[in-house]
Symmetry: C2
Subunit: 302 residues, 2 copies
């Protein structure tokens, strides 16, 4: 039944094998540990505290959304978001678009839009880094549909090939909306992924962070009924007070978080426990795990 186009079908290998074939660890003996058990057994040095300069709060009426920024991958966008936040550009913002199984998007909701003063509206794209860029890459050996190699970079979903390394569009990842021009984004308008990972966006948008708290808020807004999920009227918007850096919030009002290091033994134990998940309910371990099926633990600092 396969339909082949006028152009001859391109015969590709059935899988984009990494240059170095990695071994998938075997199953641990007995039942696999739950993430809660792995977290309970982890050591303090296996956690990394979020830097307040790289942490953004959006306070909605029903809770706080927290984003960790990714200055290693999108330095200019992150610097611009810091500047925009500090000049008050994001005050009285709103979720303006929710497209089911795709994205929730937010922006300044002023009409007419207030132009930035310290920040800028447009920046050159920061889609990828050179493969040899000095960013960590904790390899996930499991096969991936879209990239030769996937893994984590400082807790962020990432992928690479022989030439480039980039952040991957998994659930909760945050990117900069843009127009058709690749250099038309800048961070004034942001989106996060709320459904099946649309990995075809990888390398075509600037990914600049990850939601580390509050996805249950961003993913549960009513879907917009306008084109591609935009709300038809401002009355449908979901407003937040501001988008502020944790560093600019009084300490008593901060949410101090730490995230499990993705280069730690406990994280590998957690991943392998999900890969070979076996317990009273799950009796048939599959022995594989998808990049976007892994949740990196985050917890409040005691």
């Amino acid at each position: 039944m396969r339909f082949v186009f006028g152009i001859a079908a391109v015969a590709l290998a059935a899988c984009q094998s990494p240059a170095v074939v990695s071994a998938i660890p075997g199953p641990p003996p007995g039942n696999t540990p739950s993430p809660a058990e792995v977290i309970a057994a982890s050591k303090p040095e296996e956690w990394r505290r979020l830097d307040p300069e790289n942490t953004v709060y959006m306070d909605f009426p029903n809770g706080r959304v927290i984003i960790e920024l990714a200055p290693e991958f999108a330095p200019k966008h992150v610097a611009n978001i810091r500047a925009l936040s500090r000049e008050g550009y994001f005050a009285n913002g709103a979720v303006t678009r929710v497209q089911d199984n795709f994205v929730t998007q937010w922006a300044q909701a002023a009409d007419p839009a207030r132009p930035p003063k310290l920040g800028v509206e447009k920046l050159n794209a920061e889609f990828t880094l050179p493969r040899n860029a000095p960013v960590p890459f904790d390899v996930l050996p499991d096969p991936d549909t879209f990239a030769p190699e996937v893994g984590f970079s400082n807790g962020l979903y990432a992928a690479r090939d022989g030439e480039k390394v980039w952040l991957a569009h998994c659930y909760g990842m945050v990117g900069a909306g843009r127009e058709n021009d690749e250099n038309s984004g800048g961070g004034t308008e942001l989106y996060t992924i709320i459904g099946q990972s649309p990995r075809a966006l990888d390398r075509q948008l600037t990914v600049l962070g990850k939601v580390v708290q509050g996805m249950e808020i961003l993913a549960a807004f009513p879907r917009g009924t306008g084109d591609v999920g935009f709300y038809k009227t401002p009355a449908e918007y979901h407003r937040y007070a501001d988008m502020k850096l944790a560093a600019d919030v009084p300490e008593a009002q901060r949410t101090n978080l730490e995230t499990m290091r993705t280069d730690s033994a406990s994280f590998q134990t957690l991943v392998n426990g999900r890969r070979w998940r076996k317990d009273d309910f799950y009796t048939k371990p599959v022995g594989r795990i998808g990049l976007c099926n892994i949740t990196v633990p985050v917890r409040v600092v005691k």
Copy 2:
């Protein structure tokens, strides 16, 4: 940095290659067609009308959810759902659980639960069929993390290996909740996937259908704050009037749908257009597509 367990790491090929390596079609010339363009150019015979005996309605205050049942894969569960519906078992049901990035689940909300009369509470599992079962399988040649081969069976996401064929847990697929006992489900409690496809559930739960309308309703309920997303109190439930077969609804109240045949040339054109997506916004075609990234078109019959 890889952590290897006491057991020696199992060296697996980097990809579960299908027995027969399929060729991925090459890109069409120029920009790729949008799904709307493919639908507009499709022929009437490339569509299949939903059978009212295999179609279920749940009417919420904010709209109708429609599920297409999968009698080829779960014949006993589907027959049981028909019986339960016809005896009124599902009347005054409710969404009782919404776990972010995982599932929305619903059941009879009576307390104490009304026992079934025509239907039953428990059935033997219908997780898989033999590989040579007489079900269609329209192969997707792209690599998959979890199964040697993936594709569509009558429009449903499916996977197979050398021994078995089964339905895959993509966004919107519907399964039967169960207790730890594999044979403790039956269709009295159902769930659908509202986030990243949890493909590790494949072959461990009975998948019996797919939501073909109304995911924007099921995916946008507030997340439950109890254990694994259950609502803590019945006051939080989201009620629907009933779960009725389309065949049992007066014709004037039906929503008559048709779905694009996954063995049609237009469907292949649509898939390849997404695989090599190229337009004014997407300029870097990836040449691969994930099973769960494909949406099978559904439309109201004119």
